[in-house]
Point group: C2
Chain length 144, copies 2
Amino acid sequence: MALTEQVEKLKKYNFKITPQRLRVIEYINESPGHFTAEDVYKSVVKVEPSITVATVYNILRAVTMSGILTSFEANGTTWYETNLEKHANFVCLSCGKIEDVEIGCNDLGKSAEAKGFKVNNVDVIIRGYCRECLSKGLIPEITN
Amino acid sequence: MALTEQVEKLKKYNFKITPQRLRVIEYINESPGHFTAEDVYKSVVKVEPSITVATVYNILRAVTMSGILTSFEANGTTWYETNLEKHANFVCLSCGKIEDVEIGCNDLGKSAEAKGFKVNNVDVIIRGYCRECLSKGLIPEITN
DNA sequence: TTTCATCCTAAATTATGTCTAATTCATCTT
DNA sequence: AAGATGAATTAGACATAATTTAGGATGAAA
């Protein structure tokens, strides 16, 4: 998504274009795809030293509401991501790394809709051990 | 799951059977299916006034590790649930209620495994608005 | 230029973890 | 069956990280 498009989305939701918001969007566009509010703050404060954590949280909420990002919760914190396509997030229980993986099937929300619910979004979080941690033998033994 | 079976599971993982753990398990067996550590504490402290929040957290971790409960994150907190079967959790964005819904498809973790990851569990969290909130017209307008 | 959203500062809240001493439990020994 | 023993667990207080709140100051947009 280009910066102009992101700015348009903010405007569409009546969010004003402030320097702080532009800095956060710039971060997003250079980001590794998955990041936390803390990641954003640590990076943006270098170029905009007066910004505070509270502002970053506010901005991330505005940016997410505008459809520029999505978010999900894992490892006790909120993660933001730029990938708006349907996918699952794989979380490594050993190193904490998060990686996109495909979902083989559609209509995960179907039975919720069948129950009369309105579905806004579906998060799929897969927890396990990544290739690297497996090869390092870092997996705790499961004693059955 | 019966109490005797739950006790067996704790023993299998070498967790001792303490009165506090039994009180928490009793709560679980009478619970509405989804609850937080705070819910457990507020209830158990009535019958076991000396118990502390820290103990409840410890016990919930032990109980989850023993396979008596599963947990997932939503609304900024960890939720525990007794339903160990494959299912999705529907979270109402208006009232916060959580409800089980079926998942139409299997093998959600398949493509993670195809990438060489070991999959431990898959959480599916569906966010939207429940029937009750929809009928009350409590849904925020989405101005497009 | 006015107005209202947004930002800043600081402090509160919430969820959860950590530390230590005291207690309890499971098991072994009588 | 009762007591001794060491390991595991608990209570209680405090620590920390994530996030929210409140109220005044500031700046974007009409």
